[in-house]
Assembly symmetry: C2
Homo-oligomer: 289 residues x 2
Amino acid sequence: MRNVTKENITEVFKSYMDKDMAPRTREIMSALVQHLHDFARETNLTHEEWRQGIAFLEGCAAIESDGRHEFVLASDVLGLSSLVDMLHSSSKSTSSSVLGPFHVSGAPALPVGGDMKRDFGGPVLLAEGVIRDTNGDPIPNAELDIWQTAPNGLYASQDDEQDTFSFHGLMTVGADGAYAFTTVKPVEYTVPSDGPVGDILRACGRHPWRPSHLHYIVKAPGYRTLVTEIFPDDDPYLDHDTVFGVREDLVMTYVEKPASAFPDGLELSGKVQEPFLHVKFDVVLSPEA
Amino acid sequence: MRNVTKENITEVFKSYMDKDMAPRTREIMSALVQHLHDFARETNLTHEEWRQGIAFLEGCAAIESDGRHEFVLASDVLGLSSLVDMLHSSSKSTSSSVLGPFHVSGAPALPVGGDMKRDFGGPVLLAEGVIRDTNGDPIPNAELDIWQTAPNGLYASQDDEQDTFSFHGLMTVGADGAYAFTTVKPVEYTVPSDGPVGDILRACGRHPWRPSHLHYIVKAPGYRTLVTEIFPDDDPYLDHDTVFGVREDLVMTYVEKPASAFPDGLELSGKVQEPFLHVKFDVVLSPEA
């Protein structure tokens, strides 16, 4: 087609694709370019606005590194990461939520009842629950990968002051499917806002805050792996999570209890002198497709 | 909104934007995210496909440099660059076409009738025409910035063997609006295909070729600057330009003429011994808005 116009260019693009290409690639590329072109036509996108878009991508490129994933962050604050999560969440399992860019794989084993708080200050939080199947039966030997921020709002991967696996633990539950661990109450924190994604947040009058949460990845043979987060119900950012990660079934009440109520058989048993927080959160896995 | 769902996330995104933000930014961001989310919902985009998208952006970032503009190239082969051009083209002027990433600003002056061929081999092409307004009247003293590939298919900015301004010239026309210059016939060439954009072309069964062309930027006080290209009508890639730059009014016949027909008063007059090619191409500028 030598007479390309603003009306026919999307069809010309589609006509360039080979009939023998992978059907799913054709579906993705056709939809991507249809929406890209419709976006430009609907907004009557100017050359200067196009240059700003290119400058945004080049600005992300300039700071992209092993420790800084600006394109992932852009996907997060635009809601794309959460949308992809929700598109592939099972309605019968616990809701999934964003993995985020801060997880460090290969954490050391944390026994059931173990402590992640160590010498850090802040209120003790005892989190416990049972890993269950969709019938409510416990899943024996499930693996629970746990991580969170330190009290300063930073993950170990962002913070030279912390050990590599600070506030990371890998727990294998027993035959009863039960998990339990102590930690400090997680805190709300900001996503990095000193780059091009921060510029977008500011241009939209948005803040960079995420509500406080614990991260879990839960795995068991025969079940779909679940990536999720648990939020306390008193966090001020629950209704404005800048990466759209909050789901109603992931919001839990942290109950304050006296030190005397701290249960036996845990690593911190007998060592808790102040009131502590307690949250019960069962996790439901759906079977593999 | 703490109960974000795949159905409501686009509205939640819009609700996060501040009421006092710039209206045009709101319009652009709303349309961008609506289309991004609709794309993901319509294709039921998987986590693995999302990861491939992020890997594409990170792959572009890894090779982005002063000499390699992979994000611009992505926009070009997806038709976005040409679409933005066409959205802001005037129907009364000569059609615009893509600037491309290879232009070098600040070329030395080329007098009317001057030669850009110098010692390069290949058929002599004499290009001439008149810069006119929309009434057909000549525009005196218009400035014509001309560039093209060398016979090896490379622009000066891509080729260490060429001078900085090889096959670049900046011509100021006289009171009659007429321009003329000699060069070699441009050749078809490929866009860079050794990066992530090349991977997309291959996945779509597409070639990386552009039809041969001369590039012009035409400027005159009181008129909209025109960025355009002139294509010979015998090029095999006219109907499959990989960056969608061809418009019907930019396709011209290069007429072969005997050496004896070469006109007087040009830099190569009296020096042309073989048949040469001749193209006449008038350029129409529309008034500034």
